[in-house]
């Protein structure tokens, strides 16, 4: 009989809860959590390895875009998103994303694309940065700061930029890394 096992499994599941042996993510996005109170809409995605692999099972193989996503997810360890929409401008500042940018720079990730726009006062008002960790651990980070929307995406694991193209149906464009790197010169760019 599995009676004892059932009770034991339920108790163990309730007690253990936390994932066994999940690696610590390289980027910590928790500094952005304070913006939740200011935003009119917040989207938080935290998919660790177990959730990611469970989620993939429910992607539709018959949908070629979701099937491509399934293949892309194969080697990934986690996906994290913080997306905030604000009712008005200036409800967050560039200083709020500085902790994330500092982490990425400290890790030595390569900034593969960057776009900045300054306001009339010379201060940064919009910034879009894409970072890639070309080291063994992999990783992709996107920081997109618009006047009324802030998005940070962190994908933990080996992400090949060409694989992103397979998600064309989900809206991923051709990402021509070489020759389109404009904006302020970054001495850390192309650190490979």
């Amino acid at each position: 009989m599995k009676t004892g096992w059932m009770a034991g499994a339920i108790i163990l599941a309730a007690v253990t809860g936390a994932a066994w042996g999940q690696p610590t993510p390289a980027l910590d996005l928790s500094s952005l959590d304070k913006l939740e109170d200011k935003a009119k809409e917040v989207n938080v995605v935290t998919l660790d390895q177990n959730l990611l692999h469970a989620a993939v099972v429910f992607l539709d193989d018959k949908d070629k875009n979701q099937a491509a996503a399934k293949a892309l997810i194969g080697e990934l360890r986690a996906v994290y998103v913080r997306n905030f929409e604000f009712a008005h401008k200036d409800e967050y500042s560039m200083a709020d994303i500085e902790p994330i940018r500092k982490q990425v720079h400290a890790l030595g990730w390569s900034k593969i694309v960057e776009s900045k726009e300054k306001g009339d006062d010379g201060a940064l008002k919009e910034i879009d940065e894409v970072y890639l960790n070309t080291g063994p651990g992999g990783g992709l980070a996107i920081i997109s700061a618009e006047p009324k929307e802030l998005s940070v995406v962190y994908i933990d694991g080996v992400v090949k930029v060409e694989d992103l193209k397979k998600l064309r149906g989900l809206g991923v464009p051709d990402l021509d890394i070489e020759g389109t790197h404009h904006g302020s010169p970054d001495k850390d760019a192309d650190k490979k």
């Binding site: 096992w5 042996g21 692999h53 194969g74």
Partner: protein, 178 residues
């Protein structure tokens, strides 16, 4: 973690992608234990694959997600121990007799961790398994005892013995360097 139960259910029902998800979620753990034990990437890869194939053949025995990881650890460690014992040509040198890792005199040793890993890999199989489960997998002696199917006190005494051996080895190496 109990979401693994969903993957297990679907794997039993024949969903290959669900089983692949189980593999991906646990491959690092299984491979790492095998690698630390065998110190051979190709062998570790092959052994880790065999562990998951055994899992596939025995999916119905896995009662829940909480049961899966201990099962994987037990099978991995047992296969590692069997592989080492079957490897007749392997030089299972008693730790005390093992040659000191060579270190240029007066030079800082940047490979201390690597040398420690080698020392661990030269321990007798059971002690090796206990050290790996304790310090790589962060398991306590009770959990290790469950995986290795031995009394807790036996685990503790073997762990104590292994640490004493490793410490002696490290001290001798430091004396040589100084």
């Amino acid at each position: 973690m109990e979401l693994v139960g969903v993957l297990l259910d679907r794997s039993v029902q024949g969903d290959a992608s669900a089983f692949a998800g189980i593999v991906r979620a646990n491959q690092s753990m299984v491979y790492s234990v095998a690698w630390s034990f065998l110190r051979d990437a190709a062998l570790a890869d092959e052994l880790a694959q065999d562990v998951f194939l055994e899992l596939y053949r025995n999916l119905r025995q896995i009662e829940s997600g909480a049961h899966l990881v201990p099962w994987l650890r037990r099978v991995t460690v047992n296969r590692c121990i069997d592989r080492v014992r079957k490897r007749k040509r392997e030089a299972l040198v008693a730790l005390d007799d093992a040659p000191e890792p060579s270190t240029p005199a007066g030079e800082a040793d940047p490979f201390a961790s690597e040398q420690l890993r080698r020392m661990v890999a030269s321990l007798p199989e059971t002690q090796r398994a206990i050290v790996i489960l304790r310090y790589q997998e962060d398991m306590d002696p009770t959990e290790i005892a469950s995986v290795l199917k031995m009394p807790v006190n036996t685990v503790k005494s073997k762990l104590h013995r292994a640490l004493a051996l490793l410490r002696g080895k490290l001290e001798r190496r430091e004396e040589k360097e100084s």
